[in-house]
């Protein structure tokens, strides 16, 4: 039986619960997350449950922020919480520009549009 307090992650905009302000340093506005399936959206409340629901398909921080109607920094806080609880997994964006191979794949894709 999961303790409700463990996953009670309710926050209000501009207020961070339990004085926590740490954001996973890997998160960028274009980082992509996907639900792991370990926690169901219905098991957690409010913005976290809503966010997890949106992560059932790969979603970027930007999309989550827009759909949750939150500024990007607060969306990152929500996603950090979900990451900490292994509710989502992350594909972080690299700091370096993509290599030739990826550029060629992007070109192929664009030319086929």
């Amino acid at each position: 039986m999961r303790d409700e307090d463990d996953i009670e992650l309710r926050i209000r905009p501009y207020l961070v619960t339990r004085g926590r302000t740490a954001v996973d340093p890997r998160l960028r506005v274009d980082s992509t997350v996907l639900a792991t399936g370990q926690i169901a959206p219905t098991e957690i409340r409010a913005e976290h449950g809503h966010a997890l629901g949106l992560c059932q398909r790969p979603a970027s921080i930007a999309e989550l922020a827009a759909q949750l109607d939150l500024p990007v920094p607060l969306a990152k806080v929500l996603v950090t919480d979900l990451l900490v609880h292994s509710a989502v997994c992350l594909r972080a964006t690299p700091d370096e520009a993509p290599d030739l191979h990826i550029l060629e794949e992007v070109l192929h894709g664009l030319r086929r549009l």
């Binding site: 980082s31 970027s60 500024p71 992350l90």
Partner: protein
């Protein structure tokens, strides 16, 4: 901290669409994005000096900056490739936001309007000073005077190796051609950089 099992998540890449207010960034993104463009808000904290404050204490103000967001997904390997498109006003005061948006990006399209050409100057300066690859796309409006390539390149003080294209931001074909132009430019630049590395240098 958290799991990083990312094999099933598409590889994200990023393109930035820069330009002045009203130049057509949202339209441009809307013409190629598989989702309707959404608007994200970033918080920008700046220090300001209160004019009435005798102690000269700097107050911080937080403004929100809106960025348009769009997406194009391609099949690739098991998980796919997703191109994220970000459009943000290019004014100098938003530059702190640009630093995160451009980190790891393929490059940028600087969208310009011949009727308000200097609106794009701040964006040009940003990319040039950070050596971020970019191209310029002139968004052509029906009633605008037509200028030739050389006139525009001179007005923008554009170095010869930076491509200048024309587009209609309302049309998918035109917009996709601009994106292809940008990625081809970056590809050529990357190849050139690799080919000029000394022998024995790791690639």
């Amino acid at each position: 901290m958290g799991s990083d099992d990312s094999e099933t998540i598409p590889i994200p890449v990023k393109l930035v669409i820069a330009g002045g207010f009203g130049v057509g960034k949202t339209t441009f993104i809307g013409s190629c994005s598989e989702i309707r463009p959404v608007r994200t808000e970033e918080l920008l904290t700046t220090a300001s000096v209160g004019t009435d404050d005798l102690t000269g204490v700097r107050a911080k103000t937080t403004t929100t900056v809106a960025a348009d967001f769009g997406r194009i997904t391609f099949p690739y390997s098991n998980h796919g490739l997703v191109v994220y498109l970000f459009g943000t006003p290019g004014q100098r005061r938003f530059w702190p936001l640009w630093t995160e948006l451009t980190r790891g990006a393929i490059g940028a399209v600087v969208l310009a309007d011949v009727r308000k050409l200097d609106d794009c100057f701040d964006a040009l300066t940003f990319f040039e000073t950070r050596d971020i690859p970019f191209i310029v796309a002139i968004n052509v409006f029906n009633d605008a005077h037509t200028y030739d390539n050389q006139e525009l390149r001179a007005a923008l003080a554009l170095p010869p190796q930076v491509p200048l294209l024309f587009c209609d931001a309302r049309h998918q074909r035109s917009v996709v051609d601009v994106l292809i132009g940008l990625v081809e430019h970056v590809h050529a630049r990357t190849r050139h950089t690799l080919s000029t590395l000394p022998l024995g240098e790791p690639r």
